[in-house]
Amino acid sequence: MTKKGTETLVGLFVLLGMAGLVFLSLKAANLASFGSRDSYTVTAKFDNIGGLKARSPVRSAGVTVGRVTSITLDSKSFQGLVTMELERGVQFPRDSSAKILTSGLLGDQYIGIEPGYEEKHLAPGDNIAQTQSAVVLENLIGQFLFNKAAEGPAAAPPQAAAPAPGARK
């Protein structure tokens, strides 16, 4: 092989390696299932976003209709401000509600949109007013224990009643 040919091939090899490194570093971050062309953006505020992440799916009736693009903390209301892209072809009524749900018991979290009944549709940039936060297991357990305790010592076994026997309803 000529010297020039070898040099070209080596250059190609090094370039390929660099491309591999860029791919590994960015993890194909450019993979956009929904381009900005055929999608519109809506926002929603949640008291607790749980384990939701950027690029998590947005589903309605279990069908993926969009992606979460960014999650920030709203500094005024101290709520999680979730921005999501929805497919242009899918229009939701303006009084639709958004919930943070979990796929499976331990699976990843996603946003579920439940359509409302209003005639007008969500426009690009609109905010979904009705939201339901992610279920935090600790809060749930705490609530359960509290209720159990509130039922009184007669209903619950003595150990479970120990924390707050005379708790108010």
């Binding site: 091939l9 080596v10 090899f13 390696g17 490194l21 590994l24 331990l106």
Partner: protein, 259 residues
């Protein structure tokens, strides 16, 4: 008494060869700047060691990615956690399998050819002829090959991991129906560029040094006979593979033990 003397002789012999290889390594590294001035030699070696290993590395990376995705899927589907497939494949490739398997393949594909080439140069007395003409064999023959190996190895390991992840993507997303967004998003949120990718690259550089140095030493110190070259080639594979595996454990313990 005889057994005691044998033990002593063995120990001394081992220490002597260890010191000999350390001096050899030192001489070779010292010859690196001189050989960098003749860069065309290095380019030729990168081609021989890197470019020509590319096919087997890419094919193996793809196969490992395929198989990893399939096996992990069957384990994860029980728990409904198939979204984590991408993360598991990514971490195991970038942290461990990429550098280690690429290094093992590298030892088999490139290390043996280096040993055989230099061993035959020695058997054919080309090395001796060069030294008679006052050509520095360390900077003319060994150092370019050493640089070629050390430069190629990280690139090959990176490509191994990248192709493996793409292979896992093909199986997981296109065949098994894992959500593509989750596949990538969990990776992006959990894999750290410096901690995971950076340490993987660091590992592969260390493995590149080990594999190339072992191959060159075995070739250079071979007995100048056909059996000697055959024996040296075999030893290259055995020693580099074992050192890579041992070193991998040490590096993993150092890099990933905390948290």
């Amino acid at each position: 008494m005889n057994a005691l003397a044998l033990l002593g002789a063995r120990t001394l012999g081992m220490l002597r060869s260890l010191g000999h290889s350390a001096f050899f390594f030192g001489d070779m590294v010292r010859a690196v700047p001189a050989s960098l001035r003749r860069f065309d030699l290095v380019v030729t070696q990168i081609h021989a060691v890197g470019n020509l290993s590319l096919l087997i590395i890419l094919a193996s990376g793809m196969a490992v990615g395929f198989v990893l995705a399939l096996q992990m899927y069957y384990a994860l589907v029980t728990y409904g956690a198939t979204e984590s497939l991408g993360l598991i494949v990514n971490l195991s490739l970038v942290r461990e399998l990429g550098p280690v398997v690429a290094a093992l393949l590298f030892a088999g594909r490139a290390g043996t050819s280096l040993t055989a080439e230099i061993g035959l140069m020695k058997a054919g007395e080309q090395i001796a002829a060069m030294e008679m003409m006052a050509v520095d064999t360390k900077s003319r023959v060994l150092a370019p090959r050493f640089i070629g190996g050390v430069v190629s190895m990280p690139l090959l390991a990176i490509l191994f991991s990248a192709v493996g992840i793409l292979g896992a993507y093909v199986v997981a997303v296109l065949l098994l129906g894992v959500d593509a967004g989750n596949f990538w998003s969990i990776m992006q949120s959990k894999v750290d560029v410096w901690r995971d990718v950076g340490n993987g690259v660091l590992k592969s550089i260390v493995f590149g040094v080990i594999c190339t140095a072992v191959a060159l030493y075995q070739g250079y110190e071979t007995e100048a006979t056909p059996e000697g070259v055959a024996y040296a080639t075999t030893r290259t594979v055995v020693i580099s593979s074992l050192s890579v595996l041992c070193m991998d454990f040490v590096l993993t313990a150092l890099m990933f033990s905390t948290g």
